[in-house]
């Protein structure tokens, strides 16, 4: 005897389809939010880089002032 296919009955098929549509919409929403978060993170990284550069510049100037105050004869 041939192997007969066995089927499972799924009731309220329309409800399942509607729920699947809701799930797909939520997935799209999550994807767009993740993109927005990624943009914000990139912007944050850029601002942190600016901070780092500014701090390095301030450090140099402080060092210069410190050295010029500590050893004024060299300047």
């Amino acid at each position: 005897m041939e192997k007969m296919p066995v089927f499972i009955k799924v009731e309220e098929y329309n409800s399942v389809l509607e729920l699947m549509n809701v799930v797909k919409k939520k997935l799209d929403e999550a994807k767009s939010i993740l993109l927005r978060i990624n943009d914000l993170k990139n912007e944050e990284d850029h601002q942190l880089e600016l901070w780092q550069n500014a701090l390095a510049e301030v450090e140099k100037k402080i060092d210069f002032i410190d050295q010029s105050l500590a050893e004024p004869e060299q300047y």
Binding site: P5, V6, I8, V10
Partner: protein, 171 residues
């Protein structure tokens, strides 16, 4: 002037048109005799078509169609709806609308269950990642506050140095 009116001009006699019947040119349906070569009488259709007798209806021996097997899992219409009634149901009067049912093959159903479990596991992982991110954001916020505080202190110290260094020059 007499010669002018003395002679009467002869007008040629034009015959009057014959009286035509008023409905001669009226629209008429063609008579049977005029188009008998083209018109096929309803009773002669079978003869013209070459069919002598009416076709005998074949007994219904075929079974109702089974749902088609689909390969893709996330494709658009991947499963056909199964109507167990088949031909017999088509002859019955329309019944009240039943809730929609779907028949899924057993292996597809198993795969759906597996995928659902996998999605649930992934979602649990994402909740854990959310917790980590919340902690990280908290740490970031606190570190940012510390950075702001230290910058304010640095600025105040610089102002103090400025005041000390240039106070003597001003005085």
């Amino acid at each position: 002037m007499g010669w002018l009116f003395a002679r009467k001009k002869k007008v040629p006699q034009v015959p009057f048109p014959e009286k035509v019947a008023a409905d001669e040119k009226a629209l008429k349906f063609p008579t049977r005799a005029a188009s008998s070569g083209r018109v096929i009488e309803p009773g002669k259709i079978k003869e013209v078509a070459g069919v002598e007798q009416a076709p005998v209806q074949a007994p219904i021996t075929s079974f109702p169609p089974l749902p088609k097997e689909e390969k893709s899992f996330f494709g658009k219409p991947h499963l056909q709806e199964f109507s167990p009634g088949g031909f017999e149901e088509a002859r019955l009067p329309p019944s009240p609308p039943k809730p929609q049912e779907l028949y899924v093959k057993l292996d597809v159903y198993r795969r759906i269950i597996l995928e659902r479990d996998s999605v649930k596991e992934r979602l649990n992982n994402l909740f854990e990642v959310n917790k980590v991110l919340e902690t990280s954001e908290y740490n970031e916020e606190s570190n940012f506050s510390r950075l702001k505080r230290s910058m304010t202190m640095l600025h105040n110290n610089l102002l103090e140095i400025d005041k000390i260094m240039f106070k003597s020059q001003g005085d």
